[in-house]
């Protein structure tokens, strides 16, 4: 187990290194001067040149990359003398567009994206697995048919349509949920306000994912119901309810956990559309803005963060799988 984790951690470190190097390289070789972003319209060549030196853009690419990497562990000081400023470790660089250390920007937006993703995950698991169970249990009867109508609708509606519909009808016409576009509150401060703030974004995301999970759960359950070991359970005299909710559902759990883990990781990378519609200042928005504005340090940081989340979630899923499926041994 320990060797498994340390080996995987090593692979993860290598992967992250490669990802960061690639992103770094892409932005370094663009025919574009990052130092020119540092001052506004009335910019002189001297200021740009000074800033270039201050931010280290004058150094060779590999040295810049090294400074970036060491900054993560040691923090980084830009410039010297009275103009010097420091981003403490872990420093992912300094964004001149926003005049802020990237780490602080991440610290602000990450809780929002995590809240969005976790809430949506819980919602779509409940909704998707629940509907999948109902559909499988009542195969080819009306609950199954109506769930497939839901699946069809939810998969064909893009999130920007469901999101806008929810905003227009639920908030503006029916006034069921108050409009709280700028009111992010931490769950630890005010759980109720937190839920009100996130309910519509959660729902928007959850609907899209729930459709996939409904279909998957239904298909997996029906397939498992045809397995030999289910027949064995029936032959033992086990009742239909136990056959379904114990023997069959148990077998479907492991692949569901895998799927959920990877989908969740994808969401942390940023639910750009949902965050935009509901004006959530999360990671997705941050990524989008920084890409538009060539804000290299932020792009680099969000990309690495997304890679880390995917890798860590993969690791967790693998370990969970070993817990859920006794045939899988992690060594």
């Amino acid at each position: 187990m320990l060797s498994f984790i340390s080996r995987r951690a090593l692979f993860a470190a290598i992967t992250i290194l490669i990802v960061s190097a690639v992103v770094f390289a892409i932005f370094s070789f663009l025919p574009f001067d990052p130092a020119s972003l540092t001052c506004g319209q009335r910019c002189t060549k001297q200021i740009i040149a000074a800033n270039r030196i201050r931010l280290g853009f004058d150094k060779p690419v590999y040295e810049q990359y090294w400074l970036f990497l060491s900054g993560i562990f040691a923090g980084r000081t830009y410039g010297s003398g009275s103009a010097a400023f420091t981003c403490p470790a872990p420093s992912f660089g300094y964004s001149f567009n926003e005049n802020a250390c990237v780490t602080d920007m991440l610290r602000e937006s990450l809780p929002i994206t995590i809240s969005l993703a976790v809430g949506a995950l819980i919602m779509w698991l409940l909704l998707g697995i629940g509907l999948g169970i109902v559909a499988a249990k009542f195969k080819n009867r009306w609950p199954d048919t109506s769930s497939s109508v839901f699946v069809l609708l939810a998969t064909s509606l893009p999130t920007f349509v469901t999101g806008l519909f929810l905003l227009i009808w639920v908030t503006m016409k029916w006034h069921l949920v108050p409009l709280s576009l700028n009111g992010y509150t931490s769950i630890f401060d005010n759980p109720w306000k937190f839920c009100v703030y996130f309910i519509l974004p959660w729902f928007t995301l959850a609907i899209a994912y729930a459709a996939i999970y409904t279909r998957f759960t239904r298909a997996a359950l029906l397939e498992t119901l045809g397995e030999d070991y289910i027949r064995t359970a029936r032959a033992k005299g086990v009742g239909e309810r136990v056959v379904f909710f114990k023997h069959t559902l148990r077998a479907v759990l492991a692949p569901l956990v895998t799927m959920a883990g990877l989908d969740f990781a994808g969401l942390i990378g940023g639910a750009i559309i949902t965050e935009t519609i509901f004006n959530l200042p999360g990671l997705g928005r941050l990524t989008l803005r920084s890409t538009y504005e060539f804000d290299l340090p932020v792009v680099l940081a969000t990309t690495i963060l997304a890679a880390v989340v995917v890798i860590v979630m993969n690791l967790i899923v693998d370990m969970l799988y070993a817990v859920l499926d006794p045939r899988v041994r992690i060594t």
């Binding site: 397995e227 030999d228 070991y229 027949r231 064995t232 359970a233 029936r234 032959a235 033992k236 005299g237 086990v238 009742g239 239909e240 023997h247 148990r250 077998a251 859920l324 499926d325 006794p326 045939r327």
Partner: protein, 344 residues
């Protein structure tokens, strides 16, 4: 010998898009305590469908079942065909148990062996967890699993195929049923393991005074363990009789065909004598004898009724009966000559 199971005029058909599939078409047979009765036939002959009917494992609405299957539940006879779901469930695993063909896939991969066995006991004896686990370990020991208490805590994938089939047998015996249905219990196993499993079944049959209904297509298995044999073809029994009669003086052309198609080690490298043609589709069975299109003995039929009427299950001996239009005397002479030639 006390009777444990009596199937009378069992019909099982399935509705499909192409029409009704008559999988079992008027099967009658009996099983007594301490006896092994074999049902032999090729794939699709209806032998597994028959056995699943005894367990009441056909889905209601999917299968149409008529006739009667009365089985002894501690001496009280119950007709499985007409029982409610709950009543059948109460019988399953307690009065009648079943061993399946593929031990690799018949055990739940996610639950420990001991728990899977114990569940079989708990279903019929709710709340007795300790007894259930003790019983599970006892049964594992009985079927020859070494260190049963330790192995009970392991998962199916830690067992070999033969060991898993032993576990399946242990599972079937958890509630000491009187009737054991073994559906191709050795088909998926190595030959050496096959013999062990068959020997184990015979031993347990004596110990529990069970009746075993053995479903198989393997004549070697039949010869080894069966007391009486029912040969099935296209959903019907075409020959029934004591095992020696079936092997030494078969009366149905199909049985003879099966015997002839068993590979033999002989000096002259002959080709295998397979039965020509295919078994008929069970949708829209032709009138007449279902075996007629493949039968080599049609010309000996005096009434030439092979293509127009279905033969009845008849015989000069009350224990050995068969379906064929060719007069029995002529048949036994013809077949005896062929068997002699085969053994030479």
């Amino acid at each position: 010998m006390s009777e444990l199971l009596r199937i009378e005029d069992l019909h099982v058909s399935f509705k499909t898009d192409d029409g009704m599939v008559r999988a079992v078409d008027g099967v009658s047979l009996t099983l007594n305590a301490g006896e092994t009765v074999a049902i032999v036939g090729e794939s699709g002959s209806g032998k597994t469908v028959t056995s699943l009917s005894v367990m009441g494992l056909h889905k209601k609405g999917q299968a149409e079942i008529t006739g009667s299957i009365s089985l002894s539940d501690n001496g009280v006879f119950k007709d499985v065909v007409h029982l409610s779901d709950d009543e059948i469930r109460d019988i399953r695993g307690r009065a009648v148990s079943m061993i399946f063909q593929d031990p690799m896939s018949s055990l739940h991969p996610y639950y420990k062996i001991g728990n899977q066995l114990a569940e079989g006991y708990l279903v019929h004896n709710p709340g007795k967890k300790k007894e259930a686990m003790a019983r599970a370990i006892e049964m594992l020991d009985l079927v020859g699993i070494p260190e049963p208490a330790k192995r009970a805590k392991e998962f199916p994938h830690q067992f070999s195929g033969g060991m898993r089939q032993r576990v399946m047998i242990a599972l079937a015996l958890m509630n000491s049923p009187q009737i054991l249905i073994a559906d191709e219990p050795t088909t998926a196993l190595d030959v050496t393991v096959q013999a062990q499993i068959l020997a184990l079944l015979s031993k347990l049959k004596k110990e529990f005074n069970m009746g075993i209904l053995l479903i198989t297509h393997d004549l070697g298995v039949v010869a080894q363990v069966a007391d009486r044999v029912n040969v099935m073809y296209a959903g019907r029994i075409v020959e029934e009789g004591p095992v020696d009669d079936i092997f030494y003086s078969p009366l149905a052309p199909y049985t003879l065909g099966l015997l002839k198609s068993v590979p033999r080690v002989s000096k002259n490298n002959e080709r295998l004598k397979a039965i020509p043609g295919q078994p008929p589709s069970l949708i829209n069975l032709p009138v007449g004898c279902p075996f007629a299109p493949r039968c080599e003995y049609k010309q000996h039929s005096s009434e030439s009724g092979c293509n127009t009427t279905r033969p009845d299950l008849l015989g000069t001996s009350p224990t050995h009966r068969s379906r064929c239009h060719v007069p029995e005397k002529l048949r036994s002479e013809l077949f005896a000559a062929e068997l002699k030639e085969l053994q030479a």
